[in-house]
C-alpha cells in the first residue's frame, strides 16, 4: 500500500493540530475500538470558520484526511463547510488507497458533527439532510 505524497505530507506535517478551548462547535466521530477517532473544534464568527483545530487517533490516512479537511474549511462560510464531501478531501490529497476511503468519510462526518454542534449550541435549526456519524466506522456508508 502506498500513500500519495500529499497524504504523506499532511500526515508528517499535519495542519491545524490542537484544540480550541472556547470552541463554538465540537464534533467527534468514530470509536477507539475500530481504530479511528476524529475530533474537530470550530471557532465561528460572522458565519465564517475563523479557526479550526483537530485531534485524531488513527492511521496515517486518518491524520492526513483530518488535516486536509480542516484546511478545506478554514475561512469558509458555515454553509460551504457543511457542503464539504469526502470526495473533495480525497481529491485534494491526490487519492487514497481503497481501504482508506472510510477515513475521508470520517473527516467529512467530523466536520458536519462540529457544525451541527454549533447549530445546536446556538439554537439554530440544522439544514435538512445533514447526516451525522451513526457510531462505529463499521457503519460508514463506504464499508
Amino acid at each position: 500500500m502506498a500513500y500519495s505524497s500529499a497524504v504523506m505530507d499532511h500526515f508528517a506535517n499535519p495542519r491545524n493540530v490542537g484544540k480550541i478551548d472556547d470552541a463554538d462547535g465540537i464534533g467527534e466521530v468514530g470509536n477507539a475500538k475500530c481504530g479511528d477517532i476524529m475530533k474537530i473544534y470550530l471557532k465561528i464568527d460572522d458565519n465564517k470558520i475563523q479557526d479550526v483545530k483537530f485531534n485524531t487517533f488513527g492511521c496515517g490516512a486518518a491524520i492526513a484526511t483530518s488535516s486536509m479537511a480542516t484546511e478545506l474549511i478554514k475561512g469558509k462560510t458555515v454553509e460551504d463547510a457543511l457542503s464539504l464531501t469526502n470526495k473533495a478531501v480525497i481529491e485534494a490529497l491526490d487519492g487514497l488507497p481503497p481501504q482508506k476511503i472510510h477515513c475521508s468519510v470520517l473527516a467529512e462526518e467530523a466536520v458536519k458533527a462540529a457544525i451541527v454542534d454549533y447549530y445546536q449550541k446556538n439554537g439554530l435549526e440544522a439544514p435538512e439532510g445533514v447526516k451525522q456519524c451513526t457510531s462505529c466506522c463499521g457503519d460508514c456508508t463506504m464499508h
Binding site: 475500538k33 475500530c34 477517532i37 492511521c59 466506522c137
Partner: protein, 390 residues
C-alpha cells in the same frame, strides 16, 4: 541511519546462502529429474540439501518434503492428519487461538468440511498450557498443532512437553516452527514432533522455499498431482536454487545459534527495558520465554500505522498488528487472544531483530521511538481522555 527491525516478516538473504544459490542458476541449472549430467548435478545438489537439512532437524532425508514455504507446509500438515484421522473416524483438532492464519484458516476450512476444532487459550502471557492440551485431547483427536514460537509476540510454546504428551496419548503432533527454526534449537526426535513446518526466508534464506517434515510411518496423501517429485507427493520441478539456499542458510544459522542468541537477546532485552519505560506502554507476552529477536509492545492512545510511518521516515522498518496494517477492521487476532482490548491492540509495535542488527541500531531505535509516541499521543483524543482519567 537505516535500521531493519522487521526480521519476523522476512530477513535479508545471507552471503552464504546467496553464494550457495548462484551456481544453481548458471551451472547446476538442470532439472533434477533429467537423466543427463546437467540434471544429475542438480539432483545431487537437491539431495545434499535434503540430507543436510534432515540432519539439522535430527530427521531422515526421506521425511523431508520441500514446499513453497511455511503456508503450504501448514496446509499440508493439516491435510495429512485429517486424511489419517478420517480412516479411524477421528475428526477433532486441537490448536491455539493465536496460530498463524496458515493454520487458523486451514482449520476453519476443515471445520466447514466436518472437522471439530478446539482452540486453546494462550493466556495473557502468550503461552499455551500443557495441561490444557491434555484436557482438550479426546478419543477422536486427529491432530494437535501448536506453533513453536508466535510470529507477532515471539513467545515460545512448551513444545517438548506437548510432544511428550501427544506421543503418550498416540495423537499426531504438528508444530509450525517457521519463526523458531534457525533461532532456537529444534530436535524433532527429542521433542517428539511428528510434523513440522518451516520456511527459509525467516533465517536469511530465500523466499519461496520451505518444507514439511513428516515422521516416517505417517501416510502422506498426494498434495499436488503431477510428476514424481517429492516421492510423488508434490509434483512440480523443484526450486533447486532456493532449496540449496535454504540448506546453506539453515546450516549457518544453526552453527552460529548459541553465539547469535546471546548477543541478540541482550539487544532485545535492552530494547524491552528502554521501551517499557515509556508511560502506559507494555511488552506483550511473557518476558522470559520468547525468541531472541522479537519484542512486541503496545502504547495506549495511539494507532500503530502512524507509528510505523513515522519510524519509517526515521529509517526504521518495523511492523504492527493494528487493524490498519492487517487490512481489516479488527486488530491482530494474536493481540486479542492474549486479552488486549481492541483499542489498545491498535497501538501495537513489533520490533524483530536478527544477528545482523547492531547495538548502535538498537540505541537509535531507543532514541527515536519515544518522541514519535509522544508526538502521536499529542494529537490523539484517546490519549487526552486517558490522561484526564489518570
Amino acid at each position: 541511519m537505516n535500521v531493519y527491525a522487521d526480521n519476523a516478516a522476512t530477513t535479508v538473504v545471507s552471503q552464504t546462502a546467496l553464494q550457495a544459490m548462484l551456481p544453481c542458476f548458471t551451472e547446476q541449472y538442470g532439472n533434477p529429474s533429467s537423466v543427463h549430467e546437467t540434471g544429475r548435478k542438480a539432483a545431487q545438489a537437491l539431495d545434499a540439501a535434503r540430507a543436510r537439512i534432515a540432519e539439522l532437524l535430527r530427521a531422515e532425508a526421506k521425511e523431508i518434503y520441500f514446499t513453497s514455504g511455511g503456508t503450504e507446509a501448514d496446509n499440508w500438515a493439516v491435510q495429512i492428519a485429517l486424511a489419517s484421522g478420517a480412516k479411524k473416524n477421528k475428526r477433532h483438532i486441537v490448536s491455539t487461538a493465536f496460530e498463524h492464519h496458515a493454520i487458523l484458516h486451514t482449520l476453519k476450512k476443515a471445520e466447514k468440511n466436518g472437522a471439530e476444532v478446539t482452540l486453546l487459550d494462550v493466556h495473557t502471557d502468550g503461552l499455551a498450557r500443557v495441561e490444557e492440551v491434555a484436557a482438550a485431547i479426546r478419543e477422536d483427536t486427529a491432530l494437535v498443532t501448536v506453533m513453536y514460537a508466535n510470529n507477532e509476540i515471539g513467545t515460545l510454546q512448551p513444545i517438548a512437553e506437548i510432544g511428550k504428551l501427544c506421543r503418550e496419548k498416540g495423537v499426531p503432533f504438528h508444530t509450525d516452527a517457521v519463526q523458531a527454526m534457525g533461532h532456537v534449537p529444534v530436535d524433532v526426535a527429542a521433542q517428539n514432533i511428528d510434523m513440522l513446518s518451516l520456511t527459509a526466508h525467516k533465517f536469511h534464506g530465500p523466499k519461496g522455499a520451505g518444507l514439511l517434515y513428516c515422521r516416517g510411518g505417517i501416510p502422506v496423501p498426494v498434495f499436488m498431482e503431477g510428476g514424481a517429485q517429492e516421492r510423488g507427493k508434490r509434483g512440480g520441478t523443484e526450486n533447486v536454487p532456493a532449496i540449496v539456499g535454504m540448506a546453506a542458510a539453515l546450516e549457518e544459522a544453526c552453527r552460529n545459534m548459541d553465539e547469535d542468541n546471546l548477543r541478540v537477546s541482550r539487544l532485545r532485552d535492552k530494547l524491552i527495558d528502554a521501551v517499557s519505560s515509556i508511560p502506559l506502554s507494555r511488552l506483550n507476552g511473557d518476558r522470559r520465554r520468547r525468541l531472541p529477536g522479537i519484542a512486541n509492545f503496545v502504547f495506549e492512545g495511539i494507532e500503530g500505522e502512524g507509528l510505523l510511518l513515522l519510524l519509517d521516515m526515521a529509517g526504521i522498518s518495523a511492523s504492527s498488528g493494528s487493524a490498519c496494517t492487517s487490512g481489516s477492521l479488527d486488530p491482530s487476532h494474536v493481540l486479542l487472544a492474549i486479552g488486549l482490548p481492541h483499542e489498545v491492540a491498535h497501538g501495537s509495535l513489533r520490533l524483530s531483530l536478527s544477528a545482523l542488527n547492531t547495538e548502535e541500531e538498537v540505541d537509535y531505535i531507543i532514541k527515536t521511538l519515544p518522541p514519535i509516541v509522544e508526538r502521536l499521543r499529542g494529537m490523539s483524543p484517546v490519549w487526552e481522555r486517558i490522561k484526564k482519567g489518570a
